[in-house]
């Protein structure tokens, strides 16, 4: 019977949450409302002439084949990045869990890439796979692959997915390692005694018990692929070739900051906000139910 915590002071609780509320209001609600307002304006870059056009910008954006293309690009990019980053991290975590000697060293090395800034990670991959100076590009060509991500859209996509996933593997690895350690050894031992092989033990015991971690990482990775990969795409492909790697976030930047079409750009960021809110809601509401919280 824990006693109910009572705050006799009526003002203190509000005072205590006020900083958090202020931060949310200043850094989220205010800019979001500005974006909403801007998305219904049509104006020149300097704001000298502006007119209120209601939902015309949204209609224009949604009818734009380039926007639909970037929607498709984003879907492919996010799913691939999350899938690669999570499956590789899980594999590495399971392997690292088995290592007995110098386990800490392996872990440290695997966590390392997380400290690299996205733009730096992008440059790193760009240099490795640059068609003219990249050392790995040279090996690919020697193996008979016509490697040219500057003109080949599929290869460009593979390159940005690899760079984005590589950067996120460490983070996922950390959580998977922690998740694996939380699984009681007795369960696995019991299964082993019953004659279950290693693969069977993994799929019937370890994997289901890791579900909460996997679910959490799914949310984090999707949000990461949506928003935090801008630096990588900016450094590696700039959205090209053609529009093969122009994700929604990159298009918001390109239309707003390069092409200076502020209304369209704001409309796109509002749509993006709606997509992410919906995505998160769906994930928490439906996917979470099926997760087994051990």
């Amino acid at each position: 019977m824990t006693p109910r915590v009572v705050f006799p002071n009526k003002i203190l609780p509000y005072l205590l949450v006020a900083p958090q509320l202020a931060i949310t209001a200043i850094f989220f609600y205010w800019p979001a409302s500005q974006a909403l307002y801007q998305s219904m304006l049509r104006e020149d870059p300097f704001g000298l002439k502006s007119s209120f056009v209601w939902f015309a910008n949204f209609r224009k954006v949604l009818a734009d084949p380039n926007y639909l293309n970037s929607l498709k690009v984003t879907a492919i990019f996010s799913v691939s990045t999350a899938a690669v980053a999570m499956s590789v991290a899980l594999l590495l975590a399971v392997m690292a869990d088995k290592v007995v000697r110098s386990r800490g060293l392996y872990r440290t090395l695997l966590i390392w890439p997380y400290a690299v800034a996205p733009a730096i990670a992008g440059m790193l991959w760009l240099f490795l796979f640059n068609p003219s100076i990249g050392s790995l590009a040279y090996l690919l060509r020697a193996a008979g692959i016509a490697w040219d991500p500057l003109l080949n859209g599929t290869q460009a996509m593979v390159l940005v997915v690899a760079a984005a996933a590589w950067k996120q593997i460490s983070y996922n690895f950390l959580f998977f390692v922690a998740g694996l350690q939380a699984i009681p050894k007795t369960l696995i031992e019991a299964a082993a005694i019953d004659g279950a092989g290693e693969t069977k033990r993994f799929w019937t015991i370890v994997f289901p018990l890791l579900a909460p971690t996997t679910f959490f990482l799914l949310v984090v990775n999707t949000v990461y692929a949506f928003f935090d990969t801008f630096g990588i795409i900016h450094a590696v492909t700039g959205g090209g070739p053609g529009k093969a790697t122009e994700t929604l976030v990159y298009k918001v930047y390109n239309d707003g900051f390069v092409n200076l079409i502020l209304g369209d750009s704001a409309a796109q960021s509002v749509i993006l906000m709606v997509i992410v809110i919906a995505l998160t809601a769906v994930q928490f509401r439906y996917v979470e139910r099926k997760v087994h919280y051990g």
Binding site: R42, D44, P45, F46, G47, L48, N130, S132, I133, L150, L151, N152, G153, G238, G240, P241, G242, K243, N254, F257, V258, N259, L260, I261
Partner: protein, 431 residues
């Protein structure tokens, strides 16, 4: 902590004293996008100007890349705190020109400063690029460059080509490139930076082909692109065909191809005259020539950046800006800027002085872009190109060119698409 507090307090007091003693000086802020050696030039010029007089103080601030600087300026204007001077790249010229009310024409600023602008002293190709249709100069040309041809003499010799005579026409370039490739002298014959600026905008001006209606946008709004005409189709189909077996190698949308040339992968290269420094630094046995043409050269158009003055400042501040621009226009400063940095000189006097100094005999490559721009009086096809959204239209062209070079479409399809999408974007931006 206590030990450090005292000097800190002294330091603060000192700063307060020195700043308050300079209250009489009018500060002129200058936002720019120059990095490395070019940034040092900016700092050096500001320092020299500040030491040359005591009424004004120019404060240069680095704001990132060209687009970032433009955005910072726009955001500052919207927040009603713009700098006095902002450096804007060539493609942003149309954006600035469309923003009447946000800027103060340089001609008026100089007028106010008491030293009216004498157009005849400046290089005509550069002045016309930064002027309104009625001839009013809107921005001050700072760093201008023009595309030229570079070639690797060692590769030329290996391929059995004349290393002292670079190809003059595009047909000669294609032939030489094929020979380089087929002889095995280098894995690729030809590469180029900026397919938009060099192979579209300058290709048009240099050959006197029309790029768009309304004198390429210089004469007025409602521009329609005309780059799907026969000469452009022929030129780009040639590039697309050469790209198939790697005789032409694509490097990227801006200056990325420079690395390919510097690595000795390609024998011939078209790039801005401003890229000379890197070629020299690489230690390559290089040669330079005029930008190739089809049959007869007209004149090339400038790239680079110019300095814009924001509206809404006091007369006293504008006088300071005018004094700084007059300082920059001095023959000695211009000649030095040109010789040290490789930018084009803005005034004819600076060009003559450099010539008289015998500088071009030792550095012939520095004179090529000037000769290209001064060659002939500009026609309606060769004054420059101007759109309110040139960066966006260049992006559209790049996307279509990339699809063409990847073999997904022909040159005719690529240029038709570029015209159609470009025109739609121009119409949208002009509303």
């Amino acid at each position: 902590m206590k030990i450090h507090a005292l000097p800190a307090a002294y330091g603060l007091a000192f700063t307060l004293l020195t700043t308050s003693s300079s209250f009489a000086v009018t500060e002129i802020s200058w936002w720019h996008a120059m990095t490395g050696a070019n940034n040092e030039v900016v700092e050096q010029l500001s320092k020299e100007f500040n030491e040359s007089q005591s009424d004004y103080k120019v404060v240069p601030v680095f704001k990132g890349t060209y687009p970032e600087t433009l955005n910072a300026g726009i955001a500052a204007f919207r927040a009603k705190q713009p700098p006095h001077i902002m450096q804007v790249f060539d493609a942003g010229t149309g954006t600035m020109m469309a923003a009447e009310g946000a800027i103060n024409p340089v001609a008026e600023v100089l007028e106010l400063g008491g030293q009216p602008f004498d157009k005849s002293q400046y290089l005509p190709g550069i002045v016309s690029y930064y002027s309104k249709p009625d001839g009013t100069m809107l921005s001050f040309p700072y760093n201008s460059s023009s595309p030229i041809l570079y070639y690797n003499k060692d590769i030329f010799q290996k391929a059995g080509l004349d290393a002292d005579n670079p190809p003059k026409t595009w047909n000669e370039v294609w032939d030489a490139a094929k020979k380089i490739k087929s002889s095995g002298a280098a894995p690729c014959g030809f590469t180029s930076t900026w397919l938009t600026w060099i192979h579209t905008e300058n290709f048009a001006a240099w050959n006197n082909y029309q790029w768009g209606t309304q004198e390429n946008g210089i004469a007025g709004p409602n521009v329609e692109l005309t780059i799907n005409s026969e000469p452009f189709v022929k030129h780009f189909q040639e590039l697309a065909d050469l790209a198939k077996d790697g005789t032409f190698k694509y490097g990227g949308r801006t200056s990325e191809a420079k690395q390919i040339f510097l690595a000795g992968e390609c024998g011939i290269f078209t790039e801005s005259s401003g890229g000379l420094g890197d070629v020299v630094k690489s230690g390559m046995n290089y040669g330079t020539g005029m930008l190739p043409y089809d049959t007869e050269p007209q004149n090339t158009i400038p790239g680079g950046a110019s300095l814009w003055v924001f509206a809404g400042k006091s007369d006293e501040e504008y006088k300071g800006v005018a004094a700084f621009f007059n300082f920059l226009s001095q023959t000695d400063i211009q000649a030095r800027l040109h010789q040290v940095s490789g930018y084009l000189p803005v005034t004819l006097a600076a060009y003559e002085k450099t010539k008289a100094d015998g500088f071009y005999e030792k550095n012939p490559a520095r004179e090529i872009p000037i000769k290209q721009m001064l060659g002939k009086a500009p026609t309606e096809n060769s004054k420059g190109v101007r759109l309110p959204n040139l960066p966006q239209v260049r992006d559209i062209m790049n996307e279509e060119y990339e699809k063409m070079l990847a073999g997904d479409q022909t040159a005719q399809q690529a240029l038709d698409n570029a015209v159609q999408r470009g025109n739609a974007a121009i119409k949208e931006a002009s509303n």
